[in-house]
Symmetry: none
DNA sequence: TATGAATGAGCATTCATTCAT
DNA sequence: CATGAATGAATGCTCATTCAT
């Protein structure tokens, strides 16, 4: 009787776990290959094989390749969000906030090399084909817009900007500068210093 | 006999002219289709047909599709360069220089809708697959870096920046802000005003 | 202990009953889906799900999809047989027999819309691929052959026919005329009248 | 000069011939395989290989497999039409007309074994998936309807039938009887005799 | 120089079936 | 007896590129 109950529990637990198990294998394999090879050069078949599973299993979890990639992008966005939220503390002045944000992004990039670049480079192309809503960069631009709006309300940022535009500009500046730093192997400290100073000067009141 | 000679002369003349002729037809068709449909959705066959030529003719002028696209990107870059060079006059102060540059870009975009976006969006993907040298954005970043370097030398820009980094940041800011303005149908004047003020404040000495 | 015994009895009873239970669920679901979607567009998985059972259960009752479809066809044939047997009474003259038979078929089609068409259309394809014995139409042709043979023996049908051939011809005439009536929404009475007259004239002695 | 003209003519002729050449190879191969294996078991790849051509060539001539099959069916219909038109001569009485028609069909079947069966069996399934208009059998039913209508007008067929219904019935009777004859290797003469007598009795006036 | 018929590697996706639980 | 996650062979189709003319 007891063993029966245990078996049942086990069975249920295993049953409940098995699907997520293969899902997470697929997820991990997809992430690895998308980052290594890019969207186009990664076939669903490769992902499944990398995960040690049959081709068909891929389609148990995603309706198509696109959906899998979009899920990968969304996951990356959420992971970065955690880094960002941890970095931004109440009471930071503008410079501190910018520095903390930059460091959060660079920490994430160190921890997950290539993920952000892949998510952003290919996502724009994927989205273009469809109608998938706001691209990743634009969303980050919007978030920066909100940060600036709050900072304006607190009086720590000059109030003469259209925050929507400036939010996008900041996101673009960060992105492109970071890309180039990666390309040219520049040190991250110089990057953070320069960008911080740049933004602080541009934004400070008066 | 005479008519034969004339025909031969004609034929030679035409032959000499024809290659450039068919090349420019191909170029124009490629540009049109790349902008309308994007890189992936445009087949060499489509380009040749749009140009009113046989499929094989495409490969008389370009070794492959990639090369054709890269040539399109390069052409766009050079066209924009002309606009930019005309805008930047000696004796401009920093604000004037920035405003003039922005206006040159927007003028180009008005004159050649979609070209810049296509050149930049798809180029990144094409490059990613290969190793095609410096992406378009990075090159613009470098050019901005040089502009800033000169401005620093003239004393109109504060000298505490790493110009390579800041050049990239400026290019990124411009790009992303412009993209978003296009997406949200914002007016170009607000965009130019905001970005100009932003950059002037960030860059002015002291 | 008692309750255990009772449970065991219950369980056995249920076990004995359950197989037929789940079989009839599968049968019903298969019939519904084959009629609605056709053979090719119906997956064993769909059938099991429609039956409220797991995918694997399907294969507890049928070795494969084909066998399931063939069972559906056979069931339809037997159901129609009941209608036909009830319609044919001893002492009918030829005209009465034909009319009664036609009405039985049309009653069956009204009671089970689509079943006959599905059974016959797809069965031919299934059979074609394999060697599954006599197709449905041919069996009906044989039955008509026997009816005619009996009628010849009774002297109500002219004896100069090869009954095997004429049986098939009758079955084909009925089938095709009925199909077209369904397609063109013709009334069933006109159909029955015309076919009956046609057959009676063709078959009557002298 | 002359030789030049000849060359041009040759070149044009060859150019004009080349496409049809591969098309007719594909057509022939498709016909062979559809008849031998049926629609489902025949892949475009098999057709191209059977024709001694690459896979892609198939899609130069047909947008998809379905279209190829439908073209095969249409071709068969037209071929049979020629046989039928040759068989039906003005001045035939009803019995002659029916016999001639039957013989035309059987001649066609002898000359092109399996073609009609394949065209009709699989066409119904293909059409079912789409909306491809009137199935082959129904069209023949209509044609028989017209033959009967004319015969009624000439007074050689009794005028109490709905010719649309009877036309379909005749087509069905012919088809099914012929199918069964093929299955049971019955001789064609018995078939023609029986069906002719059957139809003549059913249709003759009074 | 120009052509366009021919090519075939390559891809995303489906689905009947199995088997460990 | 029941389950449903896993499988992978198989399919229809595309498209960049070649080459005989």
């Amino acid at each position: 009787m007891d063993s029966g109950a245990v078996n049942t529990v086990d069975a249920n637990a295993r049953r409940a776990r098995r699907k997520p198990e293969s899902l997470s294998k697929i997820k991990g394999a997809a992430r690895k290959l998308f980052v290594e090879r890019g969207y186009d050069a990664t076939r669903p078949q490769d992902i499944a094989r990398e995960a040690g599973l049959g081709h068909g299993t891929f389609y148990l979890h995603y309706p198509d390749k696109r959906a899998c990639f979009l899920a990968f992008v969304e996951e990356a966005r959420q992971e970065l969000d955690i880094y960002l939220r941890q970095a931004r503390q109440p009471g930071q002045d503008l410079e501190q906030a910018i520095t903390a944000t930059l460091n959060a992004i660079y920490d994430y990039c160190d921890a997950h090399p290539g993920v952000l670049r892949t998510a952003m480079t290919d996502a724009s192309v994927i989205d273009a084909g469809g109608h998938a809503g706001v691209p990743l960069m634009a969303r980050w631009g919007e978030e920066w817009g909100e940060i600036i709006r709050d900072a304006v309300a607190s009086g720590v940022v000059c109030d003469s900007y259209n925050v929507a535009i400036i939010g996008q500009a900041i996101a673009g500046a960060l992105h492109q500068a970071a890309l180039e730093c990666a390309r040219s192997q520049q040190c991250r400290k110089a990057l953070a210093d320069n960008i911080t100073r740049f933004l602080v000067r541009a934004l400070r009141p008066d």
